[in-house]
Symmetry: C2
Subunit: 478 residues, 2 copies
Amino acid sequence: MAIASGNTLLPSVIQRISQAVGPLGLITDARDMEPYVVDWRRIYRGNTPAVVRPANVREIAAVVKICAETRTPIVPQGGNTGMSGASVPRLDAGEIVISLARMNRIVDIDLLNNTMTAESGCVLAALQQAASDADRLFPLSLGGEGSCQIGGNLSTNAGGVNVLRYGNTRDLILGLEVVLPDGRIWNGLRGLRKDNTGYDLKHLFIGAEGTLGIISAAVLKLYPRPRSTATAWAAVPRPEAALQLLSLLKEHCGDRVTAFELISRNCLDLVLRHIPGTRDPFSSAHVWYVLAELSDSHEGDAVRKDLELALATAMERGLVSDAVIAGNQAQSQALWHMRESIPEAARAESGMVYRHDVAVPVSRVPAFIKETQAALEQRFPGVYIICFGHLGDGNLHYNAFIPGRNRDDAAARDARDVAQTVYDIVQRFEGSISAEHGIGLYKVAELKRYKDPLEIELMRTVKRALDPQGIMNPGKVL
Amino acid sequence: MAIASGNTLLPSVIQRISQAVGPLGLITDARDMEPYVVDWRRIYRGNTPAVVRPANVREIAAVVKICAETRTPIVPQGGNTGMSGASVPRLDAGEIVISLARMNRIVDIDLLNNTMTAESGCVLAALQQAASDADRLFPLSLGGEGSCQIGGNLSTNAGGVNVLRYGNTRDLILGLEVVLPDGRIWNGLRGLRKDNTGYDLKHLFIGAEGTLGIISAAVLKLYPRPRSTATAWAAVPRPEAALQLLSLLKEHCGDRVTAFELISRNCLDLVLRHIPGTRDPFSSAHVWYVLAELSDSHEGDAVRKDLELALATAMERGLVSDAVIAGNQAQSQALWHMRESIPEAARAESGMVYRHDVAVPVSRVPAFIKETQAALEQRFPGVYIICFGHLGDGNLHYNAFIPGRNRDDAAARDARDVAQTVYDIVQRFEGSISAEHGIGLYKVAELKRYKDPLEIELMRTVKRALDPQGIMNPGKVL
């Protein structure tokens, strides 16, 4: 990789950083830096004069202090699995990458306080495992859990499949430690369930995509481990019926409803076509499906019976046309595998897929689906909709193939016309153009278009106040 | 009341405000203003040139705009039931009061989205009732619910008895509408479960005690209504045992554990002495008690059986020495009445009571209780400790009577020596000196003493950025 003109640093800056972090903490070889400069979806390829890998918070602070003094811009990076390009440097912007990967210690597990204190570089799956080993649950669960890091989850306020029951990452946090843009360390690593001593600063840094500081550690909430689970795959005649099934389940089973995913037939077709070993749970095709899961801290088959009863009631009411309940964990995993393989199956399909990660109020999902499909079909005849997502959160992954366009076609890569059709409707439904994937570089232009200008101004005001030099992840979000 | 020199406004300002809100919206008569200038605990008595009662958000905005132009300071006020004096004007500071009381409309209930949109002046009990009428639960519940307003609950991030299960007020909110210090209206009234489009601004205003803007409306989360409840009053030998009982309950019953209150014998003695109609549930005295409640969206007696089983297990393990489970709702209410009467009983006791609303990590509550009692007994011989609170949240109301001091004794009213003894230990336990009551005027000095100076600086930075003129509730919190 050629180091371009804008991508150099004074040797003295690199030297100072090198002194701060030692030889293990600095990468400057272009080949070794490659994984740090390309985003997970391979949309963005930037470059950087150096990748810094601090071993502890003091090293981060020392590096940030040097950057603040020299006005060197910084891109904090976790597992680099984000969907919006927030974690990679831009091209020729002279941005150094600070990777949290070496900071992967679990500092403490407090069983009676139900908390786990962990450094930001901990891989999510390792935290899930540590919680499980301690007979607890850390409920954050998402596709990238094998490689994403908790610091990145925090910085993007990651969602996933358990939000319905446990909330987003923001809701799973009690305290944070943050290195501020001037290199000072804010120690907010408190494990308190209640603390009304002034502004709750942690919420500024959660979901800020690294633009306000570097989260170096967090106190995470733990939950009782579920001891029984029941998973169903149900065919529903239309999204309205799915919504009424959700309502029925919540009414009778309350928070036992852990996940509630909506899946269109098109998604299942893609999975059956491209993912080996999958099979249709039913003998005939249906237009819509729901994957629902209940879980409980009680042992036994009560949740399974609850689910059976709810599905039977739903069938009587015409809300469900067919249903299967997993008889064991392997069957449950097979059902989840189909749901989780949809993105991979969509990538395997030839052609250009336009992805949208949107949310609307749960009650408005059916109308949103109807209107958006009609609008896209009118504008792009033959469009093939891949609609699935977390219905319980009002969050749809609403994707579209458009015939005649393919990945190598430069014009087709400009997705603005498709996105605008979808987002205009999202806006009319008072929804979000980025439910869980954040803004990063990917949606900066859309944010300006769809966000209330006053809200953008407030965000800028906060950004200027906390990072007056603008060195923290510049160009992202705002 | 005499209008003091610092407490006047140019007649033209009053006139402009009067034009903005009409005759129903303005009070300037000293007698009529009385309820607005004295705080609930009657610690603070201020004065004001005018109490403004806008009828809608546009009127608030118009008034704030006039205040911003004329640098007139503003005190937003809800039900004026706060414990820390945040909602009353200071003496002779020329602060106008903006009361939200007339803005008490429930704008919308969306059953499928499980949300309720309400103006800030809605009384909490009215919101609970509206949710219940719609077969839903709005779980915020606290002593002042009959007169406090949701805007005040939001501004103080109120806690209460259901935090263990449902979180603080902050956790019950999806969206906000806020009038900013320059009079512009930020419409963040979104009913979305997921929205990662930039900084989550609502968390700035929640818990800010009116120092960053005026919350005018909110989208509240609704939950399935519990259909069965079981309440127990149990004697435990020591706080450690209470903590292990909580752990046992959570392990087996998960989120069915809705409340878990710790009560010392001294509290029960006060209640039995001062609250008519109360009686000791047990024939002999115990040093510590727990009031625990389970609830479930299922009907039937399963939660009661769960509770019985858990208590039986706890007895076998020596964690519980005696226990009674309420046989019906009246018995449950009688148990809760004892818990909720503790503050009133303490007020009825002659002498001076020093109150502390503190939190530490749940796991450290027993050690905190032990150390604090020892320290107070050493410093104030004969001290009588009234310790109760939300053990499940690590939140104690840790109060002390000191013999020989009484309310009319001016020196005794200076509680700094007592508070310092308690808060020094709170700090050592990495706790909070204000778990749910906020800072207001009451704890401004303590905040400076105990909060990390960097955190105070960050708070000031945010304050300056959003309210550069400093007109929003000056002197409170910071």
